[in-house]
Every structure is written in structure tokens, then in C-alpha cells.
């Protein structure tokens, strides 16, 4: 431990009080008690600069361009604008590292990562940032390459930063959730690892995100945040164990069951039989999950599982928040060919967007600009009524291709029928 001159931190000190774990206490612990003098100094500088931000209500980091050898992205450069005041943390870059789908670790692996990070970086990290990456926060110009080399040797790779395919995210899913209808792991890795070149060498109009949720509960916020959202679902009937269901009714009482389950089904597809059995109008179940979230023991997703794919979700910048739009109502994901099919769809979309998207335009914004139909034609996907909430309501539309389009629809229907 170094005998260092500590920057005073009266405002940050206030954040050491209270019951929630304090990040300030953690950083101070590194400053005061870490055996490596370099870490004592760098965290001292960081605290000094953060206190300065608290006092002046302004941020003092600026970006730049750095990357590891062979890659164009994955590191968030941070240079201090007040480096003359706090020289110890003048360079404080973040490495974005891709975790596994679902974010699993063994304690041994965590310690190994901690050892490497302590050797080269500040000793501060986040599991995980909003991008889904592990963030190793605080490496200087001389050390980030070494840290990367070290962890890359034992299986970790950088995530995306800048206009590129970004690190994907998946829910806990099949590993520990009864609602899961997909192998989130396989979907996630098939997709993102098909694009490693696009992850590491930013050359797209803007960012492109894959997110995978095992069921419509969408614990990963895929619809609202992903360009390519994959959501597990099923197309046969959900499974009802009437014995468990009746036990639930007996336990909670009919009134509770009516108020909290039956009447809360979004598409009003449930009713209670005279013998307290659960009656489900399966053709009107929209997979809105409520019944099985309340009574997981009695109600489960069906057996014919697959995924729904939505495209174009994003947050505010530039035209406002957009949700994803249904692109594929149902895709079976079982065989190697099935997985090839989903990867090909992603390739089609990324290629089309790379060619037609404007600089800094997300897929959702491009679709908004050119219209869903032009997008569908560009990627070779047929229109489907599941893609809309309702048909158009304004008559300003040219319909001179109607007969042909109707013919195509009937042909598709005939083919589907023949195939099934």
C-alpha cells in the first residue's frame, strides 16, 4: 500500500452511508488497501475526478480512438479533461468483453479474471453494462493490450463498440426457467458468432443488436431494445395440469382465481368450468403468459416450440423510441438447417441495412423511413397479417398490383397446406 496524498471526497463520502452496498466504499478500499501501489494511485485519481464532477455537476471524460491489435473496436477510450488535476487516472479506458449467453461464471473463472484485471487495470469492473458486456473499467494506454492478450488466451473476446454488430444478450432461459421455449444459448451463439468480423471491425451504418428471450415475458427487453429480437414461443396448445390447477383454485378460492387469472387473460381466452377446471380457448391464446406466470405448476407452454422474430427495436436517438415489428411469427429451431435459416435471415437483414441505411440510422429507423413493405421485399420475406396491429386506415395507396398480390397469397396458402 502506498502512502499517498488522498484527494478529499466530502460529497462522495456521503454515499458510504445507508444500507445498499456502496460503490464508493469499494473504490476507497482499492485506494487504501490494495497491495499494488499503481491501483492505489489510479483509484485515488478517479475518486478525485468524480468528486470534482459532483461539485461542479459536469463530466470530464472524453473519447478518442484506440483498439487492440487486429481489431477496430471493443474498447471505450477515456481520457481525462482534468488530467492535470488528477494525473493518476488520466487514461482510464474500458474494455468490453463478451460474457456467455445468460452470464454464467464459476468462482474459479471469476478469480482468474480478477487476477488478470488486477495485474493490468484499476481493479474495477461491472457485470454487466447496459450493452451486455463485462466492463473492465480503467486501463491505461500501456496495459489494455496486455490485459486483452491475457484473457483472450483463456477464452474471452472483446464485444462490439461503435457502428457494428454488438454483443448479444440472453435470458437465463432453458438453464433454469420453466417458461423457456428456446435454446437461448444456441440461438445467441449461432447468431453473434456468425458475425465476429462485424463485431470487431465496425463498418456498418450504426449499431446492430441481437437479444434472445426464451419466452414472451421477454426478460431481456428484446422487443424494445434489439434490432433482431428472438423470442421463444409455442404453436400448439399450452399444457394444463388440471389436478394442480384445481388444487390452486381450492387453495385460493374462486373469487381470487376469477380476479387474478381468468379475467386477466389479455385475449379473454380462459374460463372456469363448473368443476373448477380450467377451460382454455386455445385458438385465441396470444401467448400473453399471465396464467402460467401466476400458476407455473399447473400451466406450461406447449410442446411445439420455436421462436418469433421481431426487427427494429431501439431507444430514443434519433427519431424516438421504436419497438420491434414482427418479421417471422414462428420459426422452428431444432435442426442444423433451422439454425442456418435464422442466421441467413440475420445476414439478409444486415446486408440490406448496410446497403440502404443512412449513417447513424438503426434498422428500425430505416424501416420507418422506407416502409415495412420495401424492407420485406429487400430481404425476401412475404407479408403476413401477424406483422400488423391493424390494416391501414388512409386511402392514399396505389393498389394496381392487387390481383397479383392476392394470387401470391393464395399460392402461399396452398403451398403451406401441401407442406403440412
Amino acid at each position: 500500500m502506498a502512502d499517498i496524498k488522498k484527494y478529499p471526497t466530502p460529497m462522495l463520502d456521503v454515499l458510504e452511508d445507508g444500507p445498499w452496498p456502496s460503490f464508493i466504499s469499494g473504490i476507497k478500499n482499492l485506494r487504501d488497501n490494495h497491495p499494488d501501489e499503481r491501483i492505489n494511485n489510479v483509484t485515488n485519481g478517479l475518486l478525485g475526478q468524480l468528486e470534482h464532477s459532483y461539485e461542479t455537476k459536469m463530466g470530464y471524460w472524453k473519447g478518442g480512438t484506440i483498439s487492440v491489435f487486429g481489431y477496430g473496436g471493443g474498447i471505450i477510450p477515456r481520457f481525462s479533461e482534468v488530467g492535470d488535476k488528477f494525473p493518476e487516472s488520466r487514461e482510464f479506458h474500458t474494455l468490453r468483453v463478451q460474457p456467455t449467453p445468460g452470464n454464467y461464471y464459476t468462482t474459479d473463472m471469476m478469480r482468474k479474471l480478477a487476477d488478470s484485471w488486477e495485474k493490468w487495470g484499476s481493479g474495477l469492473q461491472t457485470f454487466h453494462g447496459q450493452t451486455g458486456n463485462i466492463m473492465f473499467i480503467g486501463a491505461d494506454n500501456d496495459s489494455f493490450q496486455h490485459f486483452f492478450d491475457e484473457i483472450n488466451d483463456y477464452g474471452w473476446d472483446l464485444g462490439g463498440a461503435g457502428p457494428c454488430v454488438r454483443t448479444a444478450m440472453s435470458c437465463v432461459g432453458a438453464a433454469r426457467c420453466e417458461q423457456s421455449c428456446a435454446n437461448e444459448h444456441a440461438v445467441h451463439r449461432h447468431l453473434v458468432n456468425n458475425f465476429t468480423d462485424d463485431v470487431h471491425r465496425p463498418a456498418l451504418p450504426y449499431k446492430f443488436k441481437f437479444k434472445v428471450s426464451g419466452c414472451p415475458n421477454d426478460c431481456q427487453n428484446a422487443i424494445e431494445r434489439a434490432d433482431f429480437a428472438v423470442i421463444g414461443t409455442w404453436r400448439d396448445h399450452k399444457k394444463i395440469n388440471q389436478d394442480h390447477w384445481k388444487a390452486f383454485v381450492a387453495d385460493k378460492g374462486v373469487e381470487y382465481v376469477m380476479d387474478n387469472v381468468i379475467s386477466r387473460c389479455h385475449s379473454k381466452s380462459l374460463s372456469l368450468g363448473e368443476d373448477n377446471s380450467l377451460i382454455a380457448d386455445e385458438s385465441n391464446c396470444v401467448r400473453s403468459m399471465h396464467c402460467m406466470n401466476v400458476v407455473p405448476k399447473a400451466i406450461s407452454p406447449g410442446d411445439d416450440k420455436g421462436v418469433t422474430i421481431l426487427c427494429g427495436g431501439k431507444r430514443t436517438l434519433k427519431i424516438g423510441d421504436l419497438m420491434g415489428t414482427v418479421l417471422v411469427p414462428f420459426m422452428k429451431l431444432e435442426t442444423a438447417e433451422d439454425y442456418e435459416q435464422i442466421v441467413e435471415l440475420a445476414e439478409e437483414i444486415i446486408d440490406f441495412w448496410a446497403e440502404n441505411g443512412l449513417e447513424h440510422e438503426r434498422t428500425g429507423e430505416m424501416i420507418e423511413r422506407i416502409g415495412l413493405v420495401n424492407f420485406l421485399e429487400g430481404i425476401g420475406v412475404d407479408p403476413d397479417p401477424n406483422m400488423i396491429a391493424q390494416p391501414r386506415n388512409v386511402s392514399y395507396v396505389r393498389t394496381d398490383g392487387w390481383d397479383e398480390a392476392a394470387e401470391e397469397w393464395f399460392n402461399r396458402k396452398r403451398e403451406e397446406k401441401a407442406a403440412s
Binding site: 471524460w61 454464467y104 461491472t126 486483452f148 415475458n217 427487453n221 431494445r225 406450461s300
Partner: protein, 358 residues
Amino acid sequence: MSKPQMREPIESGCPDGFQYMHPTMRRNFGMWDYHEDTQPGVMVHVAKNGDKLYTVKAGTQRILDVFTLRDLMDIADEYADGHVRFTIRSNIEFYTDHEEKVQPLVDALKDKGYAVGGTRNSVASISHTQGWLHCDIPGTDASGVVKSMMDELYDEFTNWNMPNRVHITTSCCQINCGGQGDIAINVQHTKPPKIDHSLVGNVCERPSVVARCPVAAIRPAMVDGKPSLEVDEKKCICCGACYPPCPPMQINDHEFTQLAIWIGGNHSNARGKPTFQRLVAAGIPNNPPRWPEATAVVKKILESYKEGARDWERINEWVERIGWPRFFEVTGLPFTKYHIDNWRGARANLNSSTHIRF
């Protein structure tokens, strides 16, 4: 001097998670039957073959130091089975298939100052962004805001008091990387950027900055004989989108950068379709180190929700049922002209019916 030999990266991409999963997860992958919530922060998942896996969830400070990380790993080895996972909201989950380990694990976590909870109908840990600690464009801090709020909401994290789960998010700029939340506390700038014309020409790629503005308020101009950019301040909506590509267009201000609170963002397809959050309060001072004004508004909304919502209703569903006029009435928040949408598609946010509650 010859250049040092650089190591070629191994482009392994996203690693395989099965190597790190708890063996009971691996064995029962895709074969889970149901789960029960035995106490706040604790779940037991039961597989179709009868295997059981216990999960204990704890809130962390997200910005973890290696000491805390090692401490958590020691707990995972001593009291659980050496396998962990982090949730999307930076909670850590410990796993064990031994029921008798659960209570000692919960006690050990509490003893060491971690918060056990965040499951079912609680206020989950606040998901946050980088803030002053590490971002290059932030209007406020994120870790500090979250620490301050979670101190106040601690009991809501560790108990099941809410009608349904509550997800809170924070964002430290208007790009809002914090995402949608039942309650979102986001930076709201209230004045146009202050431009340092001496730097723009050198630092900024002017056409792409012009293209970045959502309302076309920026145009190229010569200022004091130098190429720069000009903002039509009447048009400017103070979003700050021009600031990241052009740092001399400083949007952050110690006084005019404020906070706004939004409610009703819900990413789930459970019951209704996913929803976006809606503005409910603005003009809240950005007041470190504890942001008491923002916390007070959040607590007021939570109290009203707890009081008025039915079981299973998320905040958006509660407001949909009681209507927006009543929301403003029960929370005591002022309704202003700023709540009325004028962005594209705004008419969809107006009431075109006689459905009015009296």
C-alpha cells in the same frame, strides 16, 4: 529498433456458457417444470425429473471492486456450489441444490451487507448507466443516483410489498441507454448547447453533426471567420444529440441539466403488449450527492401505486385502468402543457373519445 511482435487476437466471440453452469442446470437444460418463491430473493426451481435448484439473489453496487468480487466468490464457494450468474440488472445469483445451504447463504450475504431480494413483486435493483464515473457525455452520475435511491428503497427490494414487480432505470443523457422502466429517471436538458466556435471546425465533422439533429436545427455557418455550426435556438429541443459527435457543442450545464421522471415502460408481453414509458415529471434538480428531490417523486409514485393497484398490475396497467387524470390526482404531480405530445404520431396520444372519468 524493430517493431515489437504483436499477438494476433483469437476471434472466439461469445464463449460457451455450459462450461460455467451449475451441473444441475446443465443436466436439466430445457427440462424445468415449475418454481416457487420461498422468501424474498430465494427461488426453488423444480425439474421434470424432480431435481431441485435453489437460487439466492443479491443486489450489488454494480461498479464492483476486485475485493468485493472476491468476497462474493468466497461466499459462493463456502455457502453455495461455486456457480454464479449476473442478471440483467446486475444482481448476483448464487446456486445450490442443497436446501440446507439456503438459509446460511442468505444470512451470510445479509451479514456482509448485501441486499437479498429483488424477486417477484418487489422493487428490483435499478438498472443504470455510467454517469460521471465513466461516460463521455453524461449530464449526471448514475451509480450515485442508484445508491441514493436504493438506500431509500431498500425495504422494497427485500420485501414483497408491491402489486407486481417494479423495474426502475436511470439514464444520464437523453439517448437513454438505461432503457424502458416502470419508472425511469432520466436527464432532461433545458437549454440549447453552448457552442465553442473556436473548436468546432477542427473537432467536428460538420455534415454528420447537422444530420444528427432530430429537428434540423443545426446549420453550417462561419463565425468570426471560422467554419462552425449554428443552432436555431427556437427549434432546438435540447436533446443533446449533437454533443457526442461534436463535444464543443456543450449540452451539459450545472443548472439547466435537470432530471425528468417517466413511468409505465414495460418490456414484457405478459397480459398486455409491451409499452413505452411516459413523461410524468420534469424540472427536477440534478442534485448530488443524494438527489433527494428525484427520490421523493419516485417514492410518491410507488406509494400511490402500492395503494391503488391490483395484484399483478404493473405501473402501466394500473394507470391504464385508473386513467391519467386520476394518476396526477393521486400522486399530486402537476399536469402541464409539456405532457401533451407534439412529436411525430402525437395524435395517437390524444383522447379522441368521450371516455372520461368523473
